[in-house]
């Protein structure tokens, strides 16, 4: 699984390196560092993050490759990648980085920026799950596991996987049929609304930057997709 994929990815990375200036955006590094609150520029690609990463075997770019592409301003390459969605947020990379780059925080920031720039997530199901999870929190104040599972399954059409574990869980009363609704649902609704309003302001602010990058890249990112 790894061999051919790794070869292709190495080619993609070197292409991005060779075509510096073409489709790259110098301001991207600053944007990521600001959103993530960590100095991605300190990364010297030692690969310790990749060696520590439990899910690098399914990633299209290794974490240090993502860091390098961010340094090079390869916005499109990074925001289209599967890696930013597959990161499991275990923070082994951040803990072990000899340059003290918070790689996991950078991955979070890249997900946020991808959404903000209107990219369709390369791992649509993962983004869909996050969206439905937060919908559940916004509406009732707590995650209703059974409701979340059913909604996710209806959206993906994958109705029957996990029945082997779902049914015994029901029997043991581990999947509550009715959601608990907190008293503070109104506060919750307003909280989500205020966060979203700020995010919308951020989108407007970054549209200028996105337009510049589009012009430089000679195309526009795919719009649409699910979730917030």
């Amino acid at each position: 699984m790894r061999g051919a994929g790794a070869g292709r990815e190495a080619e993609r990375v070197s292409k991005a390196v060779l075509h510096l200036g073409e489709g790259t955006e110098p301001g991207f590094l600053r944007e990521v560092e600001q959103e993530a609150g960590t100095k991605v520029s300190l990364c010297y690609q030692c690969g310790k993050c990749a060696a520590s990463c439990p899910v690098s075997f399914v990633m299209d770019l290794e974490p240090y490759q993502v860091m390098r592409l961010v340094q090079l301003g390869a916005r499109d390459e990074v925001l289209r990648s599967r890696t930013i969605w597959l990161c499991a947020s275990c923070t082994a990379c951040s803990e072990r980085c000899p340059r003290e780059v918070d790689v996991a925080a950078a991955m979070d920031a890249l997900r946020v920026l991808a959404r903000r720039a209107g990219y369709r997530p390369a791992e649509g199901q993962i983004a869909l799950f996050h969206g439905l999870f937060l919908d559940s929190v916004r509406d009732t104040g707590r995650v209703h596991e059974l409701g979340l599972m059913v909604r996710y399954k209806l959206k993906t059409g994958d109705l029957f996987s996990d029945l082997d574990v779902g049914l015994p869980m029901m029997r043991h009363g581990k999947l509550k049929p009715v959601p608990h609704r907190i008293r503070g649902t109104e506060q919750m609704r307003v909280l989500f609304w205020r966060v979203r309003a700020r995010e919308t302001a951020a989108v407007h602010q970054s549209t200028g930057a996105a337009r510049e990058s589009e012009a430089a890249a000679g195309g526009r990112p795919e719009k649409g997709g699910e979730g917030r």
Binding site: P54, A88, C90, Q125, H130, G131, M149, V165, E199
Partner: protein, 289 residues
Amino acid sequence: MKYAYFPGCSLSGTAREYDRSTRAVARALGLDLEEIPDWSCCGATSAHATDKLLSLALPARSLARADRMGLDVVAPCAACFNRLRTTVHAVRSDARVADEIREVLGEEYGARSQVYALPDVIVNRYGLDNIAPRLKKSLGGMKVACYYGCLLVRPSAITAFDDPEDPQTLDRLVRALGGEPVVWPAKTECCGASLSITRTRVVWQLAAQILTAAQKAGAEAIVVACPFCQSNLDMRQVQAQKWSGRRWNIPVYYFTQLLGVALGLSPGELGLESHFVDPLGVLRQKALV
């Protein structure tokens, strides 16, 4: 000793036996847990993958209630602990972020209450010296792989109670209960919790690696302090066996369940009936039930 109790969403559903065993053990130890009134979801892990401010404001709502109770918080779920403590850290260290959080929250929040992980509270703060005189049974040399996973001990700048690479809190507890913690390499590996629903095969593979490591170290049981670790290693163990053709058959206990058994509580009080891999076989061998 009294704490504000933040159970978190999983503990009223898929991990209800963690809630039940936590409350039973706390009662037996005389540790006072007062549930935070009208607490809400911490947002892990979807909120921080979506919006940084949201990921801090969601925990802040419950933490503001803990501030008003005037109590430090204890969270049994490693993911909740991690997000709650991250929020306290953010509010205490960055005034601008603190203002933003208060603004979207629409209420006062000063991060006065600190947040602690349940194993830290029981083993390090309540203390093994206080537990020892209350023990009624010994684990009889049971070989136990203590699995900490990621969110309980990382990032260590936030979690700050144990070594991020070779943590010892649960190992010390198991030893005090008469068990033998095994030395094994997968203690702080990630089980892939956030991908459990969306990329289940990845989780099978990660669970297979962790379970195989425990088996090779001679573990008769695995002990955890996180609802996602438990469900991925117990519930998904059955699936991963079918998928990989390997066989482990290792029971996965919450640390509160093993502690509860040693304190003389019954399997029913500890919610031991709802596991996928038989949890009673090993306990019977050691004449614990």
